[in-house]
Symmetry: C2
Subunit: 294 residues, 2 copies
């Protein structure tokens, strides 16, 4: 996996750098905070999912005529946009009114480094930037206007009250945390909104950008839903610190949660059977998740 992923991660970082206004442009502090949130970043899993899904769909749809570099270029607005939405969500999740976290990836969170107001505004600016990128002239030309608009719709829905923002609202309501162990279906519902919705949108945007047919689109959606839930399971297993949080290990025990996560990933791999050998990158991403690398 490392070869293709490292290369694409570099392209994604370059594209993110190109769409974020430089710190030299006013308001400088805001642009500084936005860049602080996006760079150096994490594993860029969501952009990789978008690009990997597009490559799989494009190979399937175009056969020997498939041009991987063209597919990557066409899908890059999606890759950038999903990472911008992810970055915005981390800033707002860390705010004192939410999780009140001081550290993120070993550095002070945006509000600790820039103050609460600028952190709020940096998130407020990164979110629309994602839609600006997906609807820019370049994206409309590369994907076609209908597909560009469809990716906007996909991502906007995932970010909204029936997706990520809704998941956060359920989480803070605390209906699933507290003294009793959460029920597995409660944890699932929460994970599907909080982390699943954006992962699903990343894969589906990549599929849209690559012109996936209906069967391919649904197979990729299935892959994304299983991958997204597994992502949360393994994330919970790595980070078992939070007392009382609605996590999979708390709901079903550590051993069972690991078995459950492995089963989800096996299902995700199954969902790729339609693609025969054409979805190697998506298989790699699923495998690396089980190994704790993604």
């Amino acid at each position: 996996m490392t070869d293709w992923a490292t290369r694409l991660r570099g392209l994604v970082d370059g594209a993110l750098d190109a769409v974020l206004p430089p710190e030299s442009i006013p308001p400088q502090a805001l642009h500084g905070a936005m860049r602080y949130a996006v760079f150096p970043g994490g594993k860029r899993v969501r952009p990789l999912l978008a690009l990997a899904a597009a490559l799989a769909a494009s190979r399937r749809m175009n056969g020997p005529g498939h041009d991987g570099e063209a597919t990557v270029r066409r899908t890059m607005p999606c890759a950038v946009a999903v990472e911008l939405v992810h970055s915005y969500s981390l800033i707002h999740d860390d705010l004192p009114a939410m999780d009140n976290d001081d550290l993120r990836r070993g550095r002070p969170t945006v509000h600790r480094a820039f103050g609460e107001a600028l952190a709020l505004l940096a998130g407020d600016a990164l979110l629309p930037l994602a839609f600006e990128v997906l609807s820019a002239e370049e994206a409309r030309r590369l994907m076609g206007p209908e597909a560009a608009a469809a990716t906007v719709h996909e991502l906007a829905h995932a970010a909204g009250s029936l997706g990520m923002a809704g998941g956060q609202a359920v989480d803070i309501a605390g209906a699933t945390s507290g003294a009793r162990a959460p029920r597995p279906e409660e944890v699932e519902g929460l994970a599907d909104l909080k982390t699943g919705a954006l992962i699903r949108a990343a894969v589906r945007c990549g599929a849209i950008a690559a012109g996936a047919g209906q069967r391919e689109f649904y197979a990729l959606t299935r892959y994304a839903e299983l991958f997204g839930r597994a992502f949360q399971v393994f994330d919970d297993l790595r980070d078992m610190a939070e007392d009382g949080a609605a996590t999979f290990p708390r709901a079903m025990g550590t051993d069972e949660a690991r078995r459950y996560g492995d089963g989800l990933l096996a299902g995700a791999e199954d969902a790729l059977s339609l693609f025969a050998g054409d979805a190697a990158e998506l298989s790699d991403l699923a495998a690396s998740l089980a190994l704790g690398l993604a």
Copy 2:
């Protein structure tokens, strides 16, 4: 003015009601907070600007073949989207980390009524809902996918770091407030970002939805820029309470600010000369601004 504006305001409220998830759908508290922020709402100036600009452009482009009702239907996603962005921005502006306001339109602000976390999330959900509306199948069919994508781009740019969010960042940096009176050009720059960008986007989205030609598009843009700045001038004149804020009356004195606002509106009216009698609603909106009605 009242007749057409009252009628269109009713249609806008109906359309907002249709796109906001009902409070009965989970997460109920989040949907309740979103609706609390949007209803009953204010004068809906931005949606009216979008619809009025579309009517002017459509009459100019289609002459006797102009169908006002079809234009209103085609532009309604824009009208709804700009109001959703406006509503989101009010919630976040009122938060303790920003203006820390307890009241808005005579009622408790969203964070006073629902708590800070839900207020943050209600804003975070209203913002992408705007782009979801503009890119939905219905909007793509009514406006065409290219125009739908173009309205997304227009509104996303206006909401971002070089528009509204940027204006808020400049405002909290306080570079233009404090002991000395702000310079007029400082107040102008701030107003153009904080309030001007969204008003400009409202008018331009309406023009895009109606298929305005290039000359019409630029005339409407000019109208919007002058209207937007005048809007802030008259808003400042009505609300002279804030000590030390970067307002037009503070920068140039009350009498001069009123003269300046009148001059801006005269310029906005001039920008409509291309439309002869075809921009009556936009003229009405400018006139009502001077009278303190918009």
